[in-house]
C-alpha cells in the first residue's frame, strides 16, 4: 500500500498533489468508495424541509383550494372535520365527541389531541408541508403536486386558526408563518458523557 502511494507520487505532477492536499486539509477521502451523485439525484431525494424552507419547491396554494382536496383525499381517514376518523386528529375541535360511527382517533406516544395537532403544536409550518409531502395520502405517497401540498397546508393552518382563509401560501410565505408554538420547545443539548440533570442519589 505504502509502496503504491510512493509510486503514484512520483508520476503525479506536483501541483496536483498540492491541490489535493489544500482541498483536503481538514479531511480527505480515505477509501474512495461510493460515487458522486448527480445534482438531479440529490434534488429528487432531498425532501426534508428545514424551518427556513430552503428546500421548498416553487408553487402555491390557499385554504379554499385545500378544502376541496381535503374532502377528496384526506377526509376518508382523518374524518370530514379533521377529527373522529381512524387516522390521527388534524383539526382542533371544541366538541371532542366522536361523530356517529366514528370513534376517538388513535392516541399514542406522542398523543395527538387538540392542542398537539400538527397545525398548532409544530413550531414551524414547514413541518406540516414536509410531512404531507413525504407521507400522504396514505398508500398514495408522492402523488400530490407541490401546489396541492401548499393548499392542504394552508387549509390545516386556516382550520386551526393560524392563518386567514384567503392567505396564499408559497415557498416564501410558509417559513414566515408564526406558529402558536414557535417558542414551545427547548433543543436537546447532548454532549458525550454528560449525565442527565437529575439528582442521582439512591
Amino acid at each position: 500500500m505504502g509502496a503504491c502511494r510512493m509510486r503514484l507520487r512520483s508520476v503525479v505532477p506536483l501541483w496536483v498533489i498540492l491541490g489535493l492536499s489544500q482541498a483536503g486539509t481538514a479531511q480527505s477521502p480515505t477509501y474512495g468508495l461510493g460515487k458522486s451523485p448527480s445534482a438531479e439525484t440529490i434534488r429528487a431525494w432531498d425532501i426534508a424541509i428545514s424551518p427556513m424552507g430552503k428546500e421548498l419547491p416553487p408553487g402555491s396554494g390557499s385554504a379554499k383550494e385545500g378544502a376541496q382536496l381535503y374532502a377528496q383525499k384526506c377526509a376518508a381517514c382523518h374524518g370530514a372535520t379533521g377529527y373522529g376518523g381512524r387516522a390521527p386528529q388534524l383539526i382542533r375541535t371544541e366538541n371532542p365527541t366522536p361523530p356517529p360511527g366514528g370513534k376517538a382517533p388513535p392516541c399514542l406516544s406522542p398523543c395527538i389531541r387538540n392542542e398537539t395537532v400538527m397545525g398548532i403544536y409544530s413550531p414551524y409550518a414547514t413541518t406540516i408541508w414536509d410531512y404531507i409531502n413525504r407521507g400522504m395520502p396514505f398508500g398514495k405517497e408522492g402523488t400530490l403536486t407541490a401546489n396541492e401540498v401548499y393548499a392542504l397546508t394552508a387549509f390545516l393552518l386556516y382550520k386551526n386558526g393560524v392563518i386567514p382563509e384567503e392567505q396564499v401560501v408559497d415557498a416564501q410565505s410558509l417559513p414566515q408563518i408564526k406558529m402558536p408554538n414557535r417558542d414551545g420547545y427547548v433543543l436537546p443539548d447532548w454532549k458525550h458523557g454528560n449525565p442527565r440533570p437529575f439528582p442521582n442519589k439512591p
Binding site: 407521507g135 427547548v186 449525565p195 442527565r196 442521582n200
Partner: protein
C-alpha cells in the same frame, strides 16, 4: 471419495423424499408427527423447538394489526429471555404510523450522504460492506416503553426494548469520507419506507458512536428492523435509529421533522430527560403474571441498561425498597447494552415487593416514581397514574403474594 459422495447424495435424496411425504400428508389433512420436520427445518434454516412458544404481542394500548391492517408496536417477551441478546425474531417493533415494511432489493439499495459536506456520496450495499466494519452489542428502546398500572407482565411494562449485536460501518468513517463542513451541527436521517420517517440528531452524536448497520445477530438485519440498512444511535430513543436508511443529510440547524415535533418539550427539565435513555433495569423473574410454586430457593434475574454507557452496578431490594443488596452481573457488560444481573434468593413464603436499581458509568442512578415526583414538585404518587416526563426509566416493583403469584406493584 466417490462412494462417500454417492452415499451423501443418497442420504439427501432420502431426506427430500421424506419431506415430500410430509407435504402429502399435510395436504391430505393428516397431521404429521411433530418429530417429522421439513427439509427447511432440518437443513436450510433451523427452527426452534416446537415446545418453545414464547412470542411477541401487540402493545396493550393498540392492537396489531390495526384498523389499517398494519403492525404498530409489538413487544419482546423479556420474561422468557436468557442472556442479553434478543433473538432477531423476537425483537420489538416500533413504527412511525404502522408503517408498511418495505421490500427493498439489496442490489437496488442506495444510501445518500450529502448536505454540508465537501463531497456528497452515494453508496450501494456492496460498497458499504467494503468499509471496515465493527460489531457492537446495543439495546434499542422506544420512547413509548412506559410501565403503567394496568400492565400485567414485564412484556407489557418493558417489552419495547431489545438488544442485538449490530454490524456495520461507523457513521463517523462515512462522514469523514465526505468531509463535514464548518458550521454543520445536526444530521437528518431518513428511511425508505412509505412515510420516509426522518429525525434530527446532534452531529456530535453522529461522529461519536453511531453505526450504519447491515448486520443483526450474525445475519442481515430483519425486514421489520430495517433491512437492508438501518442507523444505530446507541443509547438514544428508538425513533432516531432510522430503519431502511436511505439518506443522511448534514445540516446547520435542527430540522423539526414530524418525528422531531412529536418528541419536543417546552420545559427544559423535561427536554433534558429526553433523547438519551437514563439508567434503567427490570427484574424479569419473578415478574408480573408468573407464579412461584412454593417457598424455597430461586434465582432473581433481570436486565439493566443505560443510554449513558455501561452498567456499573445493579442492586436488588426484596423488601419494597427499604434495604438493597448488590446483584451479580451475570455475563458480559457492553456500553449502551442490556446487561444480565441476578441474585440467589430464598423465598420464605411471605408477601414481599421485589425491585432492581441500576447505576451506570456516569454515576446516574435509576429513580423511583416518588423521586421523580419530588423533582417535578408533584405529589409522591403523581406518576403512578400520570405519564412520566421524558424517557421513562423508573424503578419497577413486583409484588409477590403469599400464594406465590406475582403482580405489578406500581400502585
Amino acid at each position: 471419495m466417490d462412494s462417500k459422495k454417492a452415499s451423501r447424495r443418497k442420504f439427501l435424496k432420502g431426506g427430500a423424499a421424506a419431506a415430500a411425504v410430509g407435504a402429502i400428508q399435510s395436504a391430505s389433512a393428516q397431521t404429521p408427527p411433530a418429530a417429522k420436520r421439513s427439509l427447511k427445518d432440518e437443513v436450510a434454516y433451523g427452527e426452534r423447538s416446537h415446545y418453545v412458544t414464547s412470542v411477541r404481542v401487540a402493545v396493550l394500548e393498540r392492537p396489531s394489526p390495526d384498523e389499517f391492517g398494519l403492525t404498530f408496536h409489538v413487544l419482546t417477551p423479556l420474561q422468557d429471555q436468557v442472556g442479553i441478546i434478543t433473538p432477531s425474531s423476537l425483537h420489538f417493533v416500533g413504527t412511525h404510523r404502522g408503517a408498511i415494511v418495505p421490500d427493498i432489493d439489496p442490489r437496488e439499495y442506495r444510501f445518500l450522504l450529502h448536505g454540508m459536506v465537501d463531497r456528497p456520496l452515494e453508496f450501494t450495499l456492496e460498497e458499504l460492506k467494503r468499509f471496515p466494519s465493527v460489531s457492537r452489542v446495543h439495546f434499542l428502546e422506544c420512547l413509548g416503553n412506559r410501565a403503567k398500572v394496568d400492565h400485567k407482565t414485564v412484556q407489557q411494562t418493558h417489552g419495547l426494548t431489545s438488544c442485538s449485536e449490530w454490524t456495520g460501518v461507523p457513521l463517523s468513517v462515512l462522514l469523514k469520507e465526505v468531509g463535514v463542513q464548518k458550521g454543520a451541527n445536526w444530521v437528518v436521517s431518513e428511511g425508505a419506507e412509505e412515510v420516509k420517517g426522518a429525525g434530527s440528531i446532534p452531529l456530535a452524536k453522529a461522529m461519536d458512536d453511531c453505526l450504519v448497520a447491515y448486520g443483526q445477530n450474525g445475519e442481515p438485519i430483519r425486514p421489520q428492523n430495517g433491512f437492508p440498512v438501518r442507523l444505530i444511535v446507541p443509547g438514544f430513543e428508538g425513533i432516531y435509529n432510522t430503519k431502511w436508511l436511505r439518506r443522511i443529510k448534514v445540516v446547520d440547524h435542527y430540522y423539526m421533522t414530524y418525528n422531531d415535533y412529536g418528541h419536543i418539550s417546552k420545559d427544559p427539565k423535561v427536554a433534558a430527560l429526553n433523547l438519551q435513555w437514563g439508567p434503567k433495569s427490570v427484574i424479569t423473574f419473578p415478574s408480573g403474571g408468573q407464579t412461584l410454586p412454593g417457598p424455597g430457593l430461586y434465582q432473581i434475574t433481570g436486565l439493566a441498561w443505560s443510554g449513558g454507557g455501561a452498567v456499573r452496578k445493579v442492586e436488588i431490594s426484596t423488601d419494597g425498597g427499604h434495604t438493597w443488596k448488590d446483584a451479580e452481573i451475570r455475563g458480559q457488560v457492553h456500553r449502551m447494552a442490556h446487561t444480565r444481573f441476578g441474585m440467589t434468593w430464598k423465598w420464605e413464603g411471605q408477601q414481599c415487593v421485589l425491585q432492581s436499581r441500576c447505576t451506570d458509568e456516569l454515576g446516574q442512578v435509576q429513580p423511583t416514581r416518588a423521586q421523580l415526583a419530588k423533582f417535578f414538585n408533584q405529589p409522591a404518587d403523581y406518576y403512578h397514574t400520570h405519564g412520566v416526563p421524558g424517557t421513562d426509566n423508573m424503578i419497577q416493583p413486583w409484588r409477590i403474594a403469599a400464594d406465590g403469584s406475582v403482580s405489578n406493584a406500581i400502585a
